[in-house]
């Protein structure tokens, strides 16, 4: 099913090659300009401890070869992945239930949209009360941050299953279970991926704020500690890693939407 999508892309690629290379050059040039402006502005106008590109490059090897940095990165990213996995499974179950069962929808809709709209930072004092100032508190924050965006999107997806599909499954006497596995879940996948994209971003924020608030080992706390001792350049390496993780999530989920669900993206863009 994805073959026509690839063929189309390849065709477009050939025709556009010349503009693509010059666009790449423009991007690189813009990046250099941004770094230069940053460097010059900080040199002229900011106190010496403020992070600037030349210093960040100088401290970069030291930071990425240090044990504590990778321990912090590992702790944060492990919590993000674990939390996302929990939110993914639980969110899909609740989302399908809300999307397909009217009673569940009526009872839960209000609470789900309320908790989805709530700024997740607000629950930190509550989480630290329940879980103490521990990594369990961070995990709970990540799950809370990610869960509702998955529920909301999966519910939309389950609601949007074309009724014809359900009817066909019914007329072939498919059981409710086959209908769930073979009809409802597959057609909710694009929504699920969209929810996961949103959830991944929120999960990263959740992990970092939890580390700020509870002083748990991790990239957020690394940044807090380094900036407090005026090591802004070192702290910035951690920011770059977090940004990299954010971009990677975004990119991976977008690519998988484009690769496995090419019709979805084309539909979204209106051809």
């Amino acid at each position: 099913m994805s073959a026509p999508g690839i063929a189309l892309e390849a065709k477009a690629g050939n025709g556009l090659r010349a503009t693509v290379t010059s666009d790449g050059a423009i991007r690189v040039a813009a990046g250099v300009v941004i770094l230069l402006v940053w460097e010059i502005l900080v040199r002229i106008a900011a106190p010496p401890y403020v992070a600037r590109p030349s210093r960040i490059i100088m401290v970069f090897p030291d930071v990425i070869t240090s044990g504590p940095f990778w321990q912090a990165a590992g702790a944060t990213l492990a919590a993000v992945f674990e939390g996302l996995a929990i939110a993914f499974v639980a969110g899909t179950v609740v989302g399908v239930a809300v999307g397909r069962l009217r009673l569940a929808d009526r009872l839960l809709q209000l609470y789900i949209s309320g908790l989805f709209a709530m700024p997740m930072v607000a629950i930190l004092p509550l989480v630290s009360l329940w879980f103490g100032y521990t990594s369990a508190g961070r995990l709970a924050t990540v799950v809370f941050a990610a869960f509702f965006s998955i529920v909301v999107n999966v519910a939309d997806g389950a609601r949007a299953v074309p009724p014809e599909f359900i009817e066909v499954s019914r007329s072939f006497r498919g059981s409710a279970w086959t209908r769930l596995i073979d009809v409802i879940l597959p057609s909710s996948v694009p929504y699920l991926l969209a929810g996961l994209r949103l959830a991944a971003g929120r999960a990263l924020i959740g992990a970092v704020v939890a580390e700020f608030f509870m002083s748990i080992e991790g990239l957020g706390f690394f940044i807090l500690f380094q900036t407090r001792t005026f090591h802004h350049n070192e702290a910035f390496v951690a920011v770059a890693l977090l940004a990299g993780a954010g971009v990677l999530f975004e990119f991976a989920l977008r690519q998988s939407t484009a690769r496995f669900l090419p019709w979805y993206r084309r539909g979204e863009r209106g051809g």
């Binding site: 700024p119 607000a122 971003g201 802004h232 940004a243």
Partner: protein
């Protein structure tokens, strides 16, 4: 099916859901240590008390002033720069990938830098809200800019449209629906920024109310303040969504 439901039925299901929720909460609290969960009735009583004494009004006024200051500048710069990128292709090619990176970066990570460089007055806190909210606005506006077919501007040009007319008739109508999607997303992120700023820079507003209740182990106060911020979130995000839907039809023109 849903469209046939009358408003009355819809609101009564909401009321039923709320009643059942409150009853379950009350029941759960009766079997839980009050150090972790206060009952629905004591929490509701605390919210009423906060409202009567004016504590809540002051906190909300302070938080909203912070939110709207940061958000106002986020809209001005986000939409402004986005429209500029819509007009100048070179700038868009140069900057859009960096905007994408900043859109995906968790902005909370910058709070310690802002604290250390700017201290903890009103301005740095508004800067936090601004940073949280601007990138979804900018990112979506640029997305809208990309949706404008170059032919449209060419046609406008060949009919000798003035620069002003191109902006008014092509750029703004085509990017506005996308910008509003960004503004809706920005509301949610800006609210997170608002509470984060009130927590981590200097305590004020509704964030302070939450923090202080937590530190004092004032459990009903803590739950009450969290309910208030949830309602605030729902109201602001519904406003954003209503605005987005109002102009969403414009998107249909291009398809």
């Amino acid at each position: 099916m849903r469209s046939r439901e009358t408003l009355l039925i819809r609101w009564s299901t909401y009321a039923a859901a709320l009643t059942i929720g409150a009853a379950l909460w009350q029941l759960a609290a009766a079997h839980t240590n009050p150090a972790f969960l206060s009952s629905f009735t004591t929490t509701a009583a605390r919210v009423v008390e906060y409202t009567m004494s004016g504590v809540l009004t002051d906190a909300l006024a302070s938080s909203l002033a912070l939110f709207f200051t940061g958000f106002f500048f986020a809209i001005v710069f986000g939409v402004g720069i986005g429209l500029l990128l819509a007009r100048v292709r070179l700038l868009r090619v140069a900057l859009e990938s960096y905007i994408m990176v900043l859109y995906a970066t968790p902005m909370v990570a910058l709070i310690p830098f802002i604290l250390s460089m700017m201290g903890f007055g009103f301005v740095p806190k508004a800067v936090v809200v601004f940073l949280f909210a601007i990138f979804p606005i900018l990112y979506n506006t640029v997305e809208g800019a990309r949706s404008i077919k170059p032919e449209l501007i060419e046609v406008a040009r060949s009919f000798r449209s003035s620069e002003w007319a191109i902006w008014r008739d092509v750029l703004v109508p085509y990017t506005l629906p996308y910008a509003l999607t960004g503004i809706r997303q920005g509301v949610g992120r800006g609210l997170v920024g608002m509470v984060a700023a009130e927590f981590f820079l200097s305590a004020s507003g509704i964030g302070q109310l939450i923090m202080k209740s937590g530190q004092d182990f004032d459990i009903p106060g803590l739950y009450g303040a969290i309910i208030v911020i949830t309602i605030l979130g729902v109201v602001l995000i519904s406003l954003g969504r209503a605005l987005e839907n109002r102009f969403a039809a414009w998107r249909g023109l291009e398809r």
